[in-house]
């Protein structure tokens, strides 16, 4: 996955993500793609969660999956999650959960905060402090000046990386590696994505230019299921199903 939060010179916040899924889950030779990834695409949905006919939040999910991996609460926050690889991963978390350890499922926690939280600070606190069954990166954006990437182990938060526009850090970009380490050489989507972001500059950042970044290979790759674009200020959520015709990296 690749998630980006950026703030333009007028203080507008944009949040965009590619959801990549299905690595090593069967290769379809005929269509030159991953089998599970191909089966998932028709299930991608935009959802408008309502109470008393009023929107509470909007999100992107797969039909049949009740959690959320991407979502927006208009005028309050935007949220996405990227997978974090760890030896102390979800399998151990599930075993502990079966034996009674009180931990949260990542997709369920995201939906809960989208449904119930009323401020950026509240969401951040919950994502930092709640015990999880699997490690993850949470990419959270709010209003001007509010954005962070939370690096989570199952137990606690390893790092909270904050947006700092005054210091020239006008965007945060997270793939599937801790931001203080180099990504794996064979899976470096961070460098090309940052190259494109730096070329666009803060002055020209917008949802269309973020779509450009997420359309550049290998940020776009054979695992990319959808691209979602969000703008917290006006509640925009747009989701596009993606394909990556050859030549294209398998991840």
């Amino acid at each position: 996955c690749t998630s980006i939060i950026a703030e333009d010179e007028k203080g507008r916040m944009f949040h965009a993500r590619n959801l990549d899924f299905g690595l090593f889950l069967g290769w379809d030779i005929k269509h030159s793609t991953w089998i599970v990834n191909r089966a998932l695409k028709p299930l991608v949905l935009n959802l408008d969660f309502q109470k008393r006919n009023k929107t509470v939040f909007k999100g992107v999910t797969f039909a049949g999956y009740v959690g959320m991996l991407t979502g927006i609460k208009s005028n309050i926050f935007t949220l996405s999650m990227n997978e974090r690889y760890s030896l102390d991963g979800g399998f151990m978390g599930i075993l502990e959960w079966i034996f009674g350890v009180n931990s949260s499922w990542v997709g369920f926690l995201m939906r809960s905060v989208l449904e119930n939280a009323t401020s950026y600070k509240e969401v951040k606190k919950e994502l930092v402090e709640t015990k999880l069954i699997a490690p993850a990166y949470f990419i959270l954006g709010g209003k001007s000046g509010e954005a962070c990437v939370i690096t989570r182990t199952r137990e606690d938060s390893m790092d909270v990386w904050e947006l700092d526009v005054k210091q020239g850090m006008w965007y945060l970009l997270e793939t599937n590696y801790d931001h203080w380490n180099q990504p794996m050489f064979l899976d470096d989507r961070r460098t090309p994505a940052m190259k494109c972001m730096n070329r666009i500059t803060q002055k020209n950042i917008s949802l269309p230019t973020l779509y450009d970044v997420l359309s550049t290979k290998p940020v776009l790759n054979k695992l990319t299921t959808y691209t979602a674009l969000m703008s917290v200020d006006d509640g925009t959520l747009e989701t596009y199903l993606r394909d990556c015709p050859n030549p294209c990296m398998p991840w």
Partner: protein, 123 residues
Amino acid sequence: RAQDIPPYTEDCRTGTYPPTGPTFKGNASWYTINLDLPPEERWNKVIKDKKKEIVNLMQVIKDLVEAFDPTGQVIRLVDYKLPILLDSLPYPFNEEIQGIADASGLPVGEVIFYNIFYELSCL
């Protein structure tokens, strides 16, 4: 233009929005989930429209699992043991999952498996 191995040299794309062309496969469709409904009824419309695709995905996953476990033990574990966990899942997700299983005709264990797939895939 794109290389198959790093370092990557494809130029940054520009002018790709609004999406068109071979990398764009369509818009995600919109559905409303009414949170005032009982949890087991909230997803009925979605499942009615997407039942075929969900069943197809589960079959794809089952085929993959069977390639590694031809005896079918893992699938039996999912179908017969996972449902025990349903009541331990947090409300309202447990009841929504039950509703999805009822509407799709899939075994509840397979719907649970699908809903905890992120955690399982972290293995």
